[in-house]
Symmetry: C2
Subunit: 441 residues, 2 copies
């Protein structure tokens, strides 16, 4: 009775019968990257922004679960029945580790927020998706996004039929003049720009970190122009020099910032636990309230995933407890790996492409990513060739733009490989570039 989908079998639908996003080149691009990695398991990956897994252990899951249950018993006075119910039954829509997350934000980020303004989500992607869902009232509501932009942001907007207006990044991470211009032009066209999505610390894909002074100016602009800033912050714990800058949310005195929290890089991606801090106040129509924007995000969540797996939340909670609420403490070894890898990558590029060379690259102050300029169009076919002939993977920068024209840039990620493989991967990458570069370039 099992039917396998075969070419030529009678189809039940055409793809055009379905929502446009599922056939979008943007989403197909993601699939293509996964698929090519699957077809070339022998290739070294400078593509994936996955966290270093050298220190992972399945026993961590058991230990963290036990720590969280002990915390419920000891610190919160739960009975065994309450512990059991908390982990295994339906639970609070906004989550059960909100207080531990608030403590982490205070400890590691100097962000002071009411735990009630936090919604724990099924990964940061859901935080972003729900925030956009809540903010998009109708087809006039649009998102601004510093571009090149993480495909998760533009993809979520696409799935919600929410137009995305690109904002130039410029050398410092955001071009404020372009942002102002985009906002005003959108308003003149009858649109409502609701928020600007950005990654201020070691952006994906550019690796750029916004200077502090620019953060202040951006917050002033957001207030003046009446937009929100959606601050996505997966990488700020990993500066190259150990010096961290205050997040936008830490500097946010007028509730202009919705803070999107990922724990995939700092705990485990497999927990699929993220969160959103949405402490903006919403006046209810019946004259009640105000309530937090987080409460509205939670209402949307109740119709998407009901609540985030409390088992997964307990693992994350245990991990936070293990290091006294500090993710900085929990990531000392990983930070060292990322620093070493990024240094190896930047030094390795410099050795392989000494000036003058048509190959140039960015020099990020931290994070996972380096953008490389090459003297040829970076298409999916070129990536296929790199995987097959040179056994090295990376990400075409085109995938971070809504257009489909090829660019001459690509992204390298230093996070997924063991340090001893970085040089081998770069040797392969250099061989690939040599094979593709036009003679004399």
């Amino acid at each position: 009775m099992v039917t396998s989908p075969e070419r030529g079998a009678g189809a039940d639908f055409a793809v055009d019968d379905l929502h446009g996003a599922v056939g979008d080149p943007l989403l197909s691009a993601m699939n293509f990257l996964n698929e090519i990695a699957g077809r070339h398991p022998e290739a070294l990956s400078l593509a994936a922004g996955t966290p270093h897994e050298g220190f992972y252990d399945v026993e961590d899951v058991h230990r963290c679960l036990r720590l969280f249950c002990d915390h419920l018993r000891t610190d919160r006075g739960f009975t065994e029945e309450q512990v059991r119910r908390t982990l295994l039954q339906y639970g609070r829509t906004k989550g059960i580790v909100h207080e531990l997350i608030a403590a982490h934000l205070a400890t590691d980020e100097s962000i002071a927020v009411d735990p009630e303004s936090i919604v724990i989500t099924a990964g940061c992607q859901e935080a972003l998706f729900l925030t956009l869902r809540t903010l998009r009232r109708d087809e006039r509501d649009v998102l601004l996004a510093v571009t090149p932009a993480y495909v998760g942001a533009t993809g979520a907007a696409r799935l919600l039929d929410m137009a995305v207006l690109p904002v130039a990044d410029g050398p410092r991470g955001i071009d404020l003049d372009d942002l102002t211009r985009q906002i005003r032009e959108a308003r003149a066209a009858g649109l409502r720009p609701r928020a600007c999505y950005l990654v201020p610390d070691f952006a994906n894909p550019t690796g750029i970190r916004m200077p502090v002074s620019l953060r202040g100016e951006l917050l002033d602009l957001a207030r003046r122009e009446d937009i929100l800033l959606l601050e996505d912050n997966p990488y700020s714990l990993f500066p190259l020099d150990g010096e961290r800058l205050p997040t936008l949310k830490a500097l946010d005195t007028h509730r202009r910032v919705v803070y999107l929290g990922s724990l995939s890089k700092t705990i485990f991606p497999g927990a699929r636990v993220g969160y959103v801090v949405a402490d903006q106040l919403v006046e209810e129509s019946a004259g009640g309230g105000p309530v937090y924007l987080a409460d509205h995000v939670a209402r949307a969540k109740s119709m998407v995933t009901v609540n985030t797996s409390p088992i997964a939340q307990a693992v994350v909670g245990g991990r936070l407890l293990e290091y006294g609420g500090s993710l900085r403490g929990a990531n000392e070894r990983e930070s060292e790996v990322y620093r070493r890898n990024l240094t190896l990558m930047l030094d390795g590029l410099a050795r392989r492409f000494p000036p003058p060379s048509p190959v140039t690259w960015t020099t990020p102050e931290g994070g996972f990513f380096v953008v490389v300029q090459v003297p040829f169009d970076v298409t999916d076919e070129v990536l296929e060739r790199s995987a097959r002939d040179h056994r090295v993977l990376w990400t075409p920068l085109r995938h971070f733009y809504s257009g489909t024209e090829p660019l001459r840039r690509l992204r390298l990620s230093c996070s997924g490989l063991a340090p001893e493989l970085i040089d081998e991967a770069l040797d392969r990458f250099a061989a690939f570039v040599a094979a593709c570069a036009p003679a004399g370039a």
Copy 2:
């Protein structure tokens, strides 16, 4: 620095600035039910459709996790590194327990499907949400729903701006004439009815089970009228007499049924793991494919939650392995509790409201729910009074309709209480009814 939302504080938004769904009475109703339960912890709940938790144990989580990891090592030959990566890293969008789910469907439901046509989701709610997202191309696409309908279905549609057309249930679970009429009227109005949502086995809230003959007629109708059936099946393992009927999906020879799978009632709600079987074939626009509708659902998922927590999936996988892939086997004790509770509830109602009485109720053949007709309007205020003065909770039936006019019906659930508390809860319920019923009624 912590701001608490206080009445009179300057708000940043009016609720009308946000998506309409978050201010919808439907979603507020859900909040109201949770909130009233929180305010009356001493009340016995005949409201919640939560599974019986008497057999739950946190150690189950550890044991199931270990079982699944052993399965990866022993049955699938994974190295320790692969086990670790499977549980803790990013993973396959469609999930990692699809083969175990396919085996369960074959064992318990006589449903034979390709595991590749399954997407594992963050609870059944996400399965429903993603399916609707994929099917709704534009504002002309509408959902049919047998009404009264589970609020999760109408709420998900509302969040997607997808209109829901109610279909009469009638005494057998669906009125096929009304379904045909609704489809044709919708098409005449320029709309595209894509699918009909229904719970054929012990529906929520009515408890009705569709007869087998009607299931066949419904499948014929779906084929004739070219619509899909969204079959939601959380309760079919719990018939009163032990006799089970074939699901629509088991009878589906023409890929007309998208099957929505919940494990919240049969494993743990806290895992938040559900799934969708979508084996319909989709022709890709570039002439590729066909691929499964499941692949398109997965693309949507990649922009909502990326993938379902593999830790949570591993717990579910371990539970399935523990009983040789059979959830029927895993739920023998629970089935016995539900049978006993439902019998106690039906017998208890009969003793307390002997005929002739203005109070009548449905007599379901299984599941969790009984609908009671009472001689007064069942408003939220009446529920408040029941909770406060009589310490018993239940659910107004109004919450299962899109309208807001009060009805004279309410839903009782037998699943959440220990058997020894059912009679006490019914005593309180009878006292509440006596206090509300008009004199002489």
